[in-house]
Symmetry: C2
Subunit: 246 residues, 2 copies
């Protein structure tokens, strides 16, 4: 790319990347939503995806640490709150995305301590998630913010996921899928800010290309996690040494 | 683990990890060596593995940068020389592991500029290799050194690889496999130092467990690269968006 795009053309280019690379196109994702997975395969997905959920607040805290403007920090901090939850009175149930993800793994019959230990996750899951955290920690802030923009595409996938999983799996209940409901409103709020920021601050062709590359990178982070799951747990299944075996 | 191991028992525990987790046990590796891959699949392997080769000197330079003893730095520096080669007189052929790997990709008919750009590698390759570089950059030096110990197991795999590939693939010649010959002597030299260092410096059960975990982590780095290749390029083949397609 050599020409400078208008902000709206940049947004269109970002959406085009999603149309080609977002993980709703992945065979594992399709199998998950279409009800073609066994309970064990859904367990493997929830176990591995926990590591992603667990590292998201670290990713966001690295960005907050790097932002110099208190107003920006306040805005981005809401993401940490969304995932880590609030300080609760003693005995009250913990809220936040991580706690809600553990309701899913609980509901699937996985041992909570084992899930939280992340001992059984695939190497490919760990490498992909860590790559994302390191990207946000070390790359220019514009790119770090742009890498969050996969959330532009997540409300669709979440609706599809919730309805597909409830319809197809008798071991899934609305309560175990509690993670996803607040994401339907949180993600658009987050996207609105991040997309505006990127459209406003990517002012050269090089910056725009870097922004597009950041979104491509992030799509790869999500895609690679499903690659690893599919190779390990879809039939015939090649579970790496040390990873969770049902 | 709670008991302190003797240095020799620690070495035995390290070798046991290799026996269970080294990537010679991976289905992709077995298929490569047994002649069951197509030329395109061998190309995919060489293209992706180039990124690993290319980042090894960066990994080693991070370690050299962190070592405080000039004698240790001199020893570890030889690894950078092995991979990056020497400064050559004008017109002379570049030596070193990276240059020899490019002979392999040349011999397989891959465009050299495309290989070096690493544009076509799998996300899983990039995440795994970057995870290794970051591990050596940030973890305690003892663990960083321990993570190199997969080379304890590499002379076997290399002999097997060279003889198997020459026997089975008519598009492979001794010249294209030139990368591997020096590794048969370089790897044991490197291992001797690193293994002695680890046996001498892991003086508590916690340090010994960290050393074993470092080797498990590194086995995962190698294994995950083959997982990604297998899922993308073995039949039926699920090539991620943006990755090399033959």
């Amino acid at each position: 790319m050599t020409a400078l795009l208008s902000p709206d053309a940049l947004e269109a280019a970002l959406r085009q990347i999603g149309a080609e690379r977002y993980h709703n196109l992945h065979p594992f994702h399709r199998a998950l939503h279409d009800g073609r997975l066994t309970r064990v395969q859904v367990q493997a997905w929830a176990l591995n995806r926990y590591y992603y959920q667990a590292r998201i607040p670290a990713k966001d805290a690295f960005l907050v640490a790097r932002l110099e403007d208190p107003a920006l920090r306040r805005l981005w901090r809401t993401r940490i709150v969304d995932h880590d939850g609030d300080i609760q009175p003693e005995g009250a149930e913990q809220n936040g995305g991580i706690a809600r993800w553990l309701k899913l793994t609980d509901g699937l019959g996985l041992d909570r301590d084992y899930v939280v230990s992340t001992r059984g996750i695939l190497p490919g899951t760990r490498h992909a998630v860590d790559a994302y955290v390191n990207f946000v920690r070390h790359r220019p802030i514009l790119e770090a913010i742009a890498s969050s923009l996969t959330e532009m595409f997540s409300p669709n996938i979440i609706s599809e996921r919730v309805s597909g999983m409830l319809r197809h799996y008798d071991f899934i209940t609305p309560e175990t899928l509690a993670y996803f409901t607040p994401r339907l409103t949180q993600a658009p709020k987050d996207v609105e800010f991040a997309l505006d920021y990127v459209k406003q601050h990517a002012r050269t062709p090089e910056q725009q290309e870097a922004v597009l590359d950041a979104l491509r990178f992030k799509c790869g982070v999500l895609w690679a996690q499903l690659d690893a799951l599919a190779y390990a747990y879809l039939s015939p299944g090649h579970v790496p040494p040390g990873a969770w075996r049902p």
